[in-house]
C-alpha cells in the first residue's frame, strides 16, 4: 500500500539553495503563524480569554451582582465533599459509553451510504434528520415514546408475551440515564456519519480497485483499505464525541431535568444549577475547571493512543 504521508511536511529547500538555518526557521514560523492567525485571534478573544476569566472565577465567590471575592481553594475543597457533584461526575463518566457505540454505528452507516445506488440521498437525509430536529420537537417525541405506562414503546412492548408491566424508561433511577443516552445516539449517528462520509471521499478509488483486483472481499477491503485510510477521521470522531459526551447538557436537561432525583444529572447540569439557579458562579466555575481537567486528560490519552501515526 502506498504510504500516504501522515506527517506534516517540511518545507523542502529548493535545490542548490542552502539558506542559513536561522532565517529558514524564522520564515517557517512566520508562514505557520500567519496561516494560524485569523482563527487564533478569534479563538483567543472568544474562547481563551473567557476561559481564563472563568478559571479566575473558580477561586472566587461570585454571584454576578457584586464583585467577585477571592477565596483561594475553598470552592475546590467544598467540591470534594459535594455529594451531588460526585454523583453528577459519575453520571457524566457513564455518559461516555455513548462514544464507542456512536463511533461504530455511524462508521458503518457511512460506509453503507457511501456508494452510488438508488435512493442514497434519501437514506442520507433520513439518517441526518435527527441532527436537525429542533430540541423542542425531539423532547416531545421521545418523551411520548418513553412515557410509562402509555408511551409508544411501552404499548408496543405490552403486546409481547414476555413483558409484564410498563417499563419506566425516564422515571426510574436505573433507566433514566441510559434512556437519555439512547436519544443521544439517535441524534449522533447522522452527525458523525457526515464526518465519516467526508473522510471516505479522500480515499483514492485506485486503492480500492487494487484491493478488488487482488481478490479482496468487501470485509477485507473494509479492514485493509478503508479503516486505515479513515484513521484521521476515526481519531477525530473518538475525541470529539467523547468531549461532547462529557459536556452533555441539552438532552438530559429537556428530557428528565436530571431526574428522577439526581439520577440523570450531568456535571454541566450541576454547573447550570449552581451558576444560574443558586448564583454560586464561582463554585460553578470550579466544577467547570474539574471537568476541563478530566476532559483534557482523557483527550490526551485518546490522542496518544489513536494518533500514533500522525503525531510527530
Amino acid at each position: 500500500m502506498e504510504p500516504h504521508s501522515q506527517q506534516p511536511v517540511r518545507t523542502a529547500p529548493r535545490a542548490g539553495q542552502a539558506r542559513p538555518a536561522r532565517r529558514n526557521a524564522w520564515r517557517l514560523a512566520t508562514v505557520g503563524w500567519s496561516f494560524l492567525a485569523p482563527a487564533f485571534l478569534l479563538i483567543l478573544l472568544f474562547h481563551l480569554i473567557p476561559a481564563a476569566y472563568a478559571i479566575i472565577l473558580s477561586f472566587t465567590e461570585y454571584d454576578s451582582i457584586s464583585a467577585p471575592e477571592f477565596i483561594g481553594f475553598a470552592n475546590f475543597r467544598a467540591l470534594m465533599k459535594d455529594r451531588l457533584f460526585v454523583n453528577a461526575l459519575k453520571n457524566t463518566l457513564f455518559y461516555l459509553l455513548v462514544t464507542p457505540v456512536l463511533l461504530v454505528v455511524s462508521l458503518l452507516v457511512a460506509v453503507l451510504v457511501n456508494r452510488r445506488m438508488l435512493g442514497v440521498s434519501f437514506f442520507r437525509v433520513a439518517y441526518y434528520l435527527p441532527v436537525v430536529t429542533p430540541a423542542v420537537a425531539t423532547a416531545i417525541v421521545w418523551s411520548f415514546i418513553f412515557r410509562s405506562p402509555n408511551g409508544l414503546l411501552n404499548q408496543f412492548l405490552q403486546q409481547l408475551p414476555f413483558v409484564d408491566g410498563p417499563i419506566h424508561f425516564l422515571t426510574s433511577s436505573s433507566l433514566a440515564l441510559p434512556s437519555v443516552m439512547s436519544v443521544e445516539m439517535w441524534k449522533g449517528i447522522g452527525y458523525y456519519m457526515v464526518i465519516f462520509l467526508a473522510g471516505l471521499q479522500a480515499i483514492p478509488s485506485e486503492l480500492r480497485d487494487a484491493a478488488v483486483v487482488d481478490g479482496a472481499n468487501a470485509v477485507q477491503e473494509f479492514f485493509y483499505v478503508t479503516l486505515p485510510q479513515l484513521w484521521p477521521s476515526i481519531t477525530f470522531v473518538a475525541i470529539v464525541s467523547s468531549m461532547a459526551a462529557l459536556r452533555a447538557f441539552d438532552l438530559p436537561y429537556i428530557m428528565t431535568g436530571g431526574g428522577p432525583g439526581h439520577a440523570s444529572e450531568t456535571v454541566v447540569m450541576r454547573i447550570y444549577t449552581e451558576a444560574f439557579e443558586r448564583l454560586n458562579i464561582g463554585y460553578a466555575a470550579a466544577e467547570g475547571v474539574i471537568l476541563f481537567l478530566i476532559t483534557l486528560g482523557l483527550s490526551y490519552v485518546n490522542m496518544r493512543m489513536l494518533e500514533r501515526r500522525d503525531m510527530t
Binding site: P8, L28, P38, F40, T133, I140, G199, G288
Partner: protein, 282 residues
C-alpha cells in the same frame, strides 16, 4: 460458481443492504414522521393513539398558518438566521481551513502547543464561560449586533480540528510538486490543497449551518431588539405559559427544519465516492 450464481448472490447482498438501511432509517426517521404528521393533524385528533396514525384524519394546514402568525416577525427571523448562518460559514471555513492547514502541513515552532490550546477550548462547557464571554462581547461593543452572535461561535476548535484531519490525509507528493514548480505557500494552500478538501468544506457548511440555525440561548443573551432574534428563539414563543399547542409547536419545528434540510441536500452531493479522487492522481 457460475455467472448466474454470482448474479443471484449480488441481488441477495443488495437486498440485505437495503433491508439494513431501511431498518436504520425507520429508527432515525420515525420520530420525525410522527412530528410531521402531528403538524398536519386537526384539533380533535388524538395524537397519542396507538398504533400511531401517520395519516391525519382531519388533515389541515392551519397549524402552519397559526404557527407562522403567532410568532412575531417569524419571516424576519428566517432572514436573520440566514444572515447569521451565512456569516458564520464564511468566517469558519476561511479561518479554520487556514489554521487546519497550518497545523497539519506546516512545521513551525509552537505548533503542537497551539493545537492543544485550540483543542482545549472544546473542553470547557459553555455554561461556565457564558458570563465571561458576554463581558468580552460587551467590551468589543458587539452587544445587540448580529456580529456579536456570529463571532463567538464562528471559529471553533471543532472545525479547525476537522480541517487538520482532512489536510493530514493528502499525499505529500502534491505539495512537493507544487513547491518545485515555485508555488508560494499561499498558492499551495489555496490552489492545490484546499480544493482537495471539498468534502470537508461541505461538511463544515452543513454543520455550521445547523449549529448557528439552532442557536437559542446566545442570541437571546446578546440581542436586545426582538426584531433581531433568530428562528430558534421564535420557536420558543410557541411554548409558554399562555400557549402550549402541540400541533403548532410541531408545525413551527417542521418549518424551521426546511432550510437546514435544503442545505444538507445541496451539499451532501459532495460525498460521492470518487468525486475528488481523480484529482489525487496528480
Amino acid at each position: 460458481m457460475t455467472l448466474r450464481d454470482l448474479k443471484v448472490r449480488r441481488v441477495i447482498t443488495k437486498a440485505l443492504l437495503y433491508a439494513v438501511m431501511i431498518v436504520v432509517a425507520i429508527y432515525t426517521v420515525g420520530p420525525f414522521v410522527w412530528a410531521i404528521s402531528t403538524a398536519f393533524k386537526g384539533p380533535g385528533e388524538n395524537v397519542y393513539a396507538f398504533p400511531p396514525r401517520i395519516l391525519p384524519e382531519e388533515p389541515t394546514l392551519s397549524n402552519f398558518v397559526t404557527a407562522w402568525q403567532r410568532v412575531p416577525y417569524f419571516g424576519q427571523y428566517f432572514i436573520n438566521s440566514l444572515l447569521i448562518a451565512g456569516g458564520s460559514i464564511l468566517i469558519n471555513i476561511g479561518a479554520s481551513s487556514m489554521a487546519g492547514y497550518a497545523l497539519a502541513r506546516l512545521q513551525f515552532p509552537g505548533r503542537s502547543l497551539a493545537f492543544w490550546i485550540i483543542l482545549s477550548t472544546m473542553m470547557i462547557p459553555f455554561q461556565v464561560v457564558m458570563i465571561p464571554l458576554f463581558l468580552v462581547v460587551l467590551q468589543l461593543g458587539l452587544l445587540n449586533t448580529h456580529l456579536g452572535v456570529i463571532l463567538p461561535t464562528a471559529v471553533t476548535a471543532f472545525s479547525i480540528f476537522l480541517f487538520r484531519q482532512a489536510f493530514l490525509k493528502l499525499p505529500k507528493e502534491l505539495e512537493d510538486a507544487a513547491r518545485i514548480d515555485g508555488c508560494s505557500e499561499w498558492g499551495i494552500y489555496w490552489r492545490i490543497m484546499l480544493p482537495l478538501t471539498k468534502p470537508t468544506i461541505a461538511t463544515m457548511v452543513i454543520f455550521t449551518f445547523v449549529s448557528s440555525w439552532g442557536e437559542f440561548l446566545w442570541p437571546l443573551i446578546v440581542l436586545r431588539s426582538p426584531r433581531m432574534y433568530t428562528v430558534a428563539v421564535g420557536l420558543a414563543y410557541l411554548q409558554s405559559q399562555f400557549s402550549a399547542n402541540l400541533r403548532w409547536i410541531m408545525a413551527g419545528s417542521v418549518l424551521a427544519t426546511v432550510p437546514v434540510l435544503i442545505v444538507f441536500l445541496a451539499f451532501q452531493r459532495y460525498f460521492i465516492e470518487g468525486a475528488t479522487a481523480g484529482a489525487l492522481k496528480g
